[in-house]
């Protein structure tokens, strides 16, 4: 029973990652691509961690898997924001500068 649950959780996690990779390849804009990193970075680590905890609860591997999931889920929004900011600045310039980005174009 445990093996079946673990296999289903792993299959779901791998499916999320593969679909995210396909989305990143298929999109044409960096902002569109950024959306597809989120499923792989939020759902998949949680599914993998739940699979580890189902197999061996409260072991050192389980605790480390929880730490990995918390790190990935916590740091990916920061990275997404930083990347979107860099892409926006490269395309439109700094929005504090009125010469580079006129006020009527400001978001």
């Amino acid at each position: 029973m445990t093996e079946v649950v673990v296999a289903v959780l792993l299959a779901l996690g791998v499916a999320f990652v593969v679909l995210s990779c396909a989305g990143v390849v298929a999109m044409r804009d960096p902002f569109d691509r950024l959306h597809f990193t989120s499923p792989a970075a939020t759902v998949a680590p949680i599914l993998f961690t739940v699979a580890v905890l189902v197999e061996e609860p409260l072991s050192s591997a389980g605790i480390k898997a929880v730490i990995v999931a918390v790190l990935i889920v916590g740091t990916t929004p920061v990275l997404t924001h930083a990347t979107a900011r860099a892409a926006h600045i490269r395309r439109h310039g700094r929005w504090e500068d009125p010469e580079v980005d006129p006020p009527e174009d400001a978001p």
Binding site: E3, V6, A7, L10, A11, G13, V14, V17, V18, S20, C21, A22, V24, V25, P30, R33, L34, F36, T37, A40, A41, A44, P45, F48, A51, V52, E55, S59, S60, A61, K64, A65, I67, V68, L71, I72, T75, T76, V78, L79, T80, A82, T83, R85, A86, A87, I89, R90
Partner: protein, 83 residues
């Protein structure tokens, strides 16, 4: 060959599209693909550690999660200003 090793193999194959985007697309798109690839790598290390029943290998996944965050953040700052 248990379910963990099969999952790790599938995740390594999922790195190939990220590699293609890193190699062929502009710099910001490549950075997005790098972030996805670092997440996939961390999950692969986790699956390998669990598949081979080696608890100390799980530390590699923790280190990879921390260092890939710092690396991608540095890349984002460079792309924002200088590159």
């Amino acid at each position: 060959m248990n379910a963990w090793l099969v999952a790790a193999t599938a995740l390594i194959l999922a790195l190939l599209p990220c590699l293609w985007v890193c190699a062929r697309r502009p710099a910001v798109d490549a950075l997005v693909a790098l972030e996805l690839a670092s997440t996939v790598t961390t999950l692969t290390l986790l699956a390998l550690a669990q598949g081979y029943r080696r608890d100390p290998f799980m530390d590699l996944a923790v280190v990879s999660a921390v260092l890939s965050f710092a690396g991608a953040l540095a890349f984002a700052r460079f792309l924002e200003r200088w590159v």
